[in-house]
């Protein structure tokens, strides 16, 4: 019998740790992807996932099912806060050491790219495109990046994004429009299909 997220959370609250494992199974990928896109670093993203679920375990007593707010929104809000903390921490490290840690070769992460060995030209083209998308995303201000990631990758509604980022619906619209406008300009050379319109 399929349980809703809220039911699983209430089950975990009542002491059933298997419910937590079920929640983790459902959301691990989404949370990891969200954190990875925002933090652009695999190790930090893993830490964010770990920290998010740890906080979830700590806040289980405070959780109350709300028909107006989905469980996923609550979890994304936790992850959003964890990501902000990690970014602040990273800035402190940069302040102390004077170098950007994510510029180190050890920490530089490459996105998983499609394996197109049979079509080398196409693969190369797609790799270039992926690198350009990654670069363009990295350049976005944090708030725009988060709004875009939540919308494009996590398929959250504007309302849910507003709750996660703690901002109004209008601001979400503006954030998404500006993020897309910047990406559109950055990635214009790769938009062949659009040129044919």
């Amino acid at each position: 019998m399929h349980k809703t997220d809220e039911e699983l959370m209430m089950g975990y609250r009542s002491g059933d740790t298997s419910c937590l494992e079920e929640i983790f199974g459902r959301y691990k990928k989404q949370i990891f992807n969200y954190a990875f896109k925002v933090l652009t670093n695999r190790a930090d993203a893993e830490e964010a996932v770990s920290e998010s679920f740890y906080i979830l375990t700590g806040k289980k007593e405070a959780y109350k099912p709300d028909p107006q707010a989905k469980f996923s929104t609550w979890l994304y809000t936790i992850t959003h806060n964890v990501c902000i903390d990690l970014i602040r921490k990273r800035k402190r490290v940069i302040f102390i050491w004077g170098v950007k840690r994510d510029k180190d070769s050890d920490c530089e992460e490459q996105w998983d790219l499609p394996d197109n060995k049979d079509l080398p030209d196409q693969a190369a083209e797609q790799n270039d495109c992926a690198a350009a998308v990654k670069k363009a995303l990295e350049k976005l201000p944090l708030e725009m990046k988060e709004a875009l990631v939540l919308r494009e990758y996590q398929q959250l509604s504007y309302d849910e994004i507003g709750k996660v980022l703690n901002c109004t619906l209008e601001k979400v619209k503006i954030l998404l429009f500006r993020a897309r406008e910047r990406l559109r300009i950055e990635l214009l050379p790769f938009m062949k299909e659009a040129d044919n319109v």
Partner: protein
């Protein structure tokens, strides 16, 4: 190109299906009419496609298990890690602080201590140098180029380096075995021993006279012996050990002093001064006790004390209050005394001769009166000389100290109190500054240590703990 900003915002929301029904109709109509916006919308769709191509990342199984263990494994593990972190941080901080203390603070403290030691030693040496003049029974003469130092103000000790031009040198008079202070320097070349000093070719510019010195030396007897210390091969040191001055034994010096002392209670000071005088076998010459117009009591005393107790009494009087001034003088009347003695002897001889000439001669009354009249001036002269010598003897044997005790006014006491308070405040401020001088580097060191610890913490956590 259509630059309708509002329409572009709507197109972004249109892409997400977040427009109201009315807005959606407007956008549809506009898209049918405007090729630019149609193209723009196509670009947005293309952008979405590009983004969606690389949407999903996967957690590695190891990472997934680790994360699971992290939050399912419970708090204990996290707390253990936290403890480890705290221990590492605390260790780093302690180590850094120790290093900072060793390399930064300690030398400062050391400097401070040595500074205080220097200050103390300077005080000690200063005091010793000063007191040596009155307490040491020896003085040292160096051979060399210049006078190094002199502590001859009190007349019983001096350090003199040969050959230099300097005041307060010494001249030795081997003939009568005494030496005297000189105002000008000597250019002595060889001080092999005390007996040969006089024959050394240093020049004495002028004799020191006791009248020209206020606090200076009493004439002293020549040293019985002098020692040469050969370890200073290039600078032979002659240590001369003079005897204490013996006033009245051949030399006639009158010692006197006037002291002006502020006291709290003039009557008490007067009583105490009288007691001190009596204890030292002296007596009160004259006293006067008066009150000024502002109600302060003033006591004037003239004390006569034996010469050998002169300095003892003077020092005791200094302890009775706030000494505002002391003038002491010693007048060498040896020459005058000698001359008077000589004159007395001569007068006696003449008188005796005249008496002998007149003795046993028969004469009349008139002649006898004339003879007596001729003798009278000599007789008077002899009496006068005797009296004068007696006065001198008395002045030499009993020194005179005139002391004035004046009560301090309330204002003065308040002023003194304020001075004390200011001095205490200055001392506290100096102490606070010293503390600050230590605290500021310590605080900076602490901040640096904290930053280092933070850095170490982050580094270790990233490198070891997390993985």
């Amino acid at each position: 190109m259509c630059n309708n900003q509002k329409m572009r915002e709507w197109l972004s929301a249109y892409l997400d299906g977040q427009l109201s029904q009315q807005e959606k109709i407007e956008v549809d109509v506009h898209l049918n009419e405007c090729n630019d916006c149609k193209k723009y919308y196509a670009q947005l769709q293309s952008l979405r496609k590009m983004l969606s191509k690389y949407a999903q990342e996967e957690l590695s199984p190891d990472s997934e298990q680790k994360i699971k263990n992290d939050f399912l494994g419970g708090k204990l593990k996290r707390e253990a890690v936290m403890k480890k972190k705290i221990l590492i941080s605390a260790g780093s901080v302690a180590l850094t602080l120790v290093l900072v203390f060793v390399f930064a603070v300690q030398p400062m403290v050391k400097r401070g201590i040595s500074g205080r030691l220097k200050e103390s030693s300077a005080k000690i040496s200063g005091g010793a140098g000063y007191s040596a003049g009155s307490t040491n029974d020896s003085f040292t003469v160096y051979e060399g180029d210049a006078l190094l130092a002199t502590v001859a103000q009190h007349g019983s000790a001096s350090v003199l380096k040969k050959g230099g031009a300097a005041n307060n040198g010494f001249r030795w008079e081997s003939a009568d075995g005494a030496y005297r202070h000189t105002d000008y320097a000597m250019a002595a070349k060889s001080f092999s021993n005390a007996q040969s000093l006089d024959s050394a070719d240093y020049a004495v510019r002028r004799y020191w006279t006791s009248a020209s010195r206020s606090t200076a030396m009493a004439p002293m007897q020549a040293p019985a012996s002098a020692q040469v210390y050969p370890e200073y091969s290039d600078v032979p040191i002659v240590i001369v050990e003079p005897y204490l001055p013996q006033s009245g034994n051949g030399e006639k010096v009158i010692y006197s002093a006037a002291a002006y002392i502020k006291v709290k209670d003039a009557q008490a000071a007067y009583d105490r001064a009288a007691q001190i005088t009596r204890e030292n076998k002296g007596f009160l010459g004259s006293t006067n006790f008066e009150q000024t117009s502002d109600g302060k009591a003033v006591a004037h005393m003239m004390l006569r004390v034996p010469r050998e107790k002169f300095e003892t009494v003077l020092n005791a009087l200094r302890t009775l209050g706030d000494v505002k001034g002391v003038n002491s003088s010693n007048v060498d009347i040896s020459q005058q005394y000698q001359e008077l003695t000589q004159q007395l002897d001569n007068a006696k001889v003449v008188y005796d001769k005249m008496v002998a000439a007149f003795k046993d001669k028969k004469t009349d009354i008139e002649k006898a009166q004339r003879m007596e009249s001729a003798l009278t001036p000599y007789l008077l002269r002899i009496e006068a000389l005797r009296n004068q010598l007696a006065v001198y003897d008395n002045q030499v044997m009993m020194s005179t100290i005139t002391v004035t005790f004046e009560e301090s006014s309330l204002h003065t006491f308040l002023k003194h109190d304020f001075e004390d308070i200011h001095a205490q405040m200055a001392q506290k401020a100096a102490t606070a500054l010293k503390s600050l001088a230590l605290m500021v580097p310590a605080f900076i060191a602490f901040v640096v240590a904290l930053l280092c610890a933070l850095a170490v913490w982050n580094f270790l956590k990233d490198k070891f703990i997390k993985k």
